[in-house]
């Protein structure tokens, strides 16, 4: 068992953000690097956010309202030969859940680019974020980065991952190799936080299947190509799972000290093969993501190899009703061969959504979606609205509502956690 190095990461991230600020100052005042650095760019955003849960929580210690402040500065330096350094920090303060207040080093990498005959190569060394996949309801094949779960339960936001990332590309496609020397554990909401399981997850007690613990050297590779109407990616990952098995506490703890009972995350060694494909034809996007994963435990705690996929598409009606607006219709089906033994909520779920892009000055857009569990009929609704208020100010509203959550559904503990999130972002 390894103590989770939460503090170390928080410190590292804080140091990164501080270094970023100092470097920015140094560069902009021209104190150093005049000859070395060809161009630089300092940008970022500050967001004020309120998250409100209209329903009383399932547990009395959970809070209904949180004020949040988020800072995300970014610095980019480029030398005359094209080598560049990217630094991106992130900090969130949440008044309602101290675990959700967190710092992260999203990116801190050196990028080298070159060419050997007709092949282009690219090497990224440091912390980075990588995205694989095509689907909207779930990012199934995307595995390189750990999910920043406390950021958003949608699993869309990712933590920075230390890596060496080599890309070689040519007329034959793009091949990528990843060396991942360090594992980052997932942070689950704290006791006072919402959108958590009935039993909290002990973020300070993390277990690894590998004796090397978080220092197990993971590897990943991906080949992708774009031919005509098709964009296809094939990937493989071998190493420490990003999704932990949550071990229930021993029954005796409920008798001795119920407050100490917590789930303990266990990260197994897994191998995952992934496929992602999209066909783009006229106004249609047809999408498929599929994985085969070996080495992970199912919900019963037994090791079970499984296959999962998300398939669907998107059709856009341009200039709908003779306006400037575009209406996108999305439908996706999620399946997991383990069905009720699956460790996530996507064992047999359908997703339908409507996306309305106003194409106006303010780049207004609205996405309304529903995810329905075909087995339990549990539903969750999600709506996202974005609008630019001025050249540097944007408004983002997100609402999620749970409906008809069955007692045996994986999201039962969050049934009272409907929320509305209103954010105002200043970008520079």
């Amino acid at each position: 068992m390894a103590r989770r190095p939460v503090l170390r990461w928080a410190k590292l991230a804080a140091a990164g953000v501080a270094a970023l600020g100092v470097t920015a100052l140094g560069v902009t005042t021209g104190a150093w690097g005049e000859s070395l650095i060809d161009s630089h760019e300092f940008s970022g955003s500050v967001t004020l956010e309120n998250r409100w849960f209209p329903k009383k929580a399932a547990n009395p210690e959970q809070k209904d309202f949180g004020v949040n402040l988020i800072a995300a500065p970014e610095l980019y330096l480029e030398s005359a030969d094209g080598t560049s350094l990217t630094l991106e920090g992130f900090y969130r303060y949440d008044s309602s859940d101290s675990v959700r207040s967190h710092a992260d080093l999203r990116k801190a990498y050196l990028l080298f680019v070159g060419q050997i005959e007709d092949q282009e190569w690219e090497l990224r060394l440091g912390v980075d974020r990588v995205f694989w996949g095509v689907a909207e309801s779930r990012h199934l094949v995307d595995i390189v980065n750990q999910t920043d779960l406390v950021e958003n339960p949608s699993e869309e936001v990712k933590l920075g991952q230390p890596m060496a990332h080599l890309t070689v590309s040519g007329d034959w496609g793009v091949a990528e190799l990843f060396g991942l020397p360090y594992h980052r554990a997932r942070t689950f909401p704290g006791r006072h936080g919402r959108l958590r399981s009935a039993l909290v997850v002990d973020n300070d007690r993390v277990m690894y299947e590998s004796g090397a613990e978080e220092r197990h050297f993971d590897v990943a590779a991906r080949y992708s190509h774009s031919v005509g109407l098709f964009d296809v990616g094939l990937s493989v990952f071998d190493g420490t799972s990003r999704e932990p098995y949550l071990q229930p506490p021993p029954p005796i703890c409920f008798i001795l000290d119920p407050r100490s009972c917590a789930l303990v995350p266990l990260y197994e060694q897994i191998r995952q093969y992934g496929l992602d494909a999209q066909m783009t034809y006229e106004a249609w996007l047809l999408k498929l993501e599929a994985i085969r994963r070996a080495g992970a435990r199912n919900a019963l705690g037994e090791e079970e190899d499984y296959t999962a996929f998300v398939a669907g598409g998107e059709y856009t009606i341009y200039s709908v009703f003779d306006t400037d607006m575009d209406l996108g219709l999305l439908a996706e089906l999620n399946r997991d061969s383990r069905r009720m033994r699956a460790t996530n909520i996507f064992q047999n779920d359908v997703f339908f959504a409507v996306r309305l892009a106003f194409n106006d000055f303010a780049s207004t857009d609205l996405l309304v979606g529903i995810l329905e569990d075909v087995d339990t009929r549990s539903r969750s609704f999600n709506a996202q609205f974005n609008r630019r208020l001025s050249d540097s100010l944007t408004l983002n509203v997100e609402a999620t509502f749970f409906h008809n959550i069955a007692a045996d559904d994986a999201t039962h503990a969050t049934r009272r956690d409907n929320f509305v999130n209103i954010g105002l972002t200043y970008s520079f």
Binding site: E122, S169, V174, L285, F361
Partner: protein, 274 residues
């Protein structure tokens, strides 16, 4: 193959052949005295393209000022990079700088002469490269009065051309040609283009919607000569006659034959674009 098909195919081939002859004829002054309006239209379009060819690649700074009928203003700023591909569609990269919330968002367009363009978008927040449909040719580009089809390279193969008349435009002598989109994705039934006779620069374009009503007018101005050969308009003004809205597109810091190559216009290049 049925007999009917064979006949039809033969007729089609003859038409193509005739069209080819017309093209050849266009290059020969003796016959060019009285070419058909279609041949002359195509010749003007070809000559305009020829004069723009050979620039290799281009980097420029674009500023868009969007105005409503009531006079409200909004600004967009982006960098445009174009790579010329010999005898095929150009490759274009747009990288947005302003507004700040979309800073870093980039579009990659691989234009094709014989099929719809390929289009990818890079979303920096998710580090995601996404292939998107290029069927939305008539959609607004960044909320402006320019549609995607107005702003990306318009390959002449995507239109049929017809010369209409000579007409003065300002101090210059111009030709007026009509071009009709071949594909179904276009939002226009036809366009009228004014080219000056000396340099074949477009000075004015009228866009007619699917109901054949005048929808928008583009006026080009402040032409600048680069490398003693290439003319680029410094200011393009698009006015929408239906809504009263307008967009001024300013091009500055034009740099031809910059340090760009094929690898800046790939999906991995898009991921790196800044």
């Amino acid at each position: 193959m049925t007999r009917k098909h064979r006949v039809r195919r033969f007729l089609a081939m003859m038409t193509l052949f005739a069209a080819g002859m017309n093209c050849l004829a266009a290059g020969q002054p003796a016959v060019a005295q009285n070419p058909s309006p279609e041949a002359r239209g195509l010749e003007i379009a070809r000559e305009a393209r020829k004069r723009g060819e050979g620039f290799g690649n281009l980097v420029s700074q674009l500023t868009m000022v969007l105005r409503t009928a009531k006079g409200q203003e909004s600004r967009r700023q982006m960098r445009l990079k174009t790579l010329e591909v010999a005898n095929a569609g150009d490759k274009t990269l747009f990288v947005f700088d302003r507004p700040a919330d979309v800073s870093g968002t980039a579009f990659l367009v691989h234009a094709h002469r014989d099929k719809p363009d390929d289009l990818w978008i890079f979303l920096p927040a998710l580090n995601r490269v996404k292939r998107i449909s290029s069927a939305n040719q008539s959609g607004s580009f960044m909320g402006s009065e320019f549609a995607y089809e107005d702003i990306t390279t318009q390959e002449i193969e995507k239109f049929t051309h017809k010369y209409l008349r000579d007409e003065p435009c300002g101090d210059l002598a111009c030709t007026v040609s009509e071009r009709t989109p071949v594909g179904e994705d276009s939002g226009y039934s036809r366009q009228l283009v004014w080219h000056d006779k000396k340099e074949y620069r477009p000075w004015r374009v009228e866009y007619y919607d699917r109901r054949n009503e005048l929808l928008k007018t583009l006026t080009l101005a402040d032409y600048e000569l680069h490398l003693d050969r290439y003319w680029y308009a410094g200011e393009q003004t698009m006015v929408n006659h239906l809504t009263g809205k307008s967009t001024v597109l300013k091009t500055s810091e034009v740099q031809l034959q910059a340090k760009l190559n094929e690898r800046d216009f790939t999906r991995t290049g898009l991921r790196r674009a800044r």
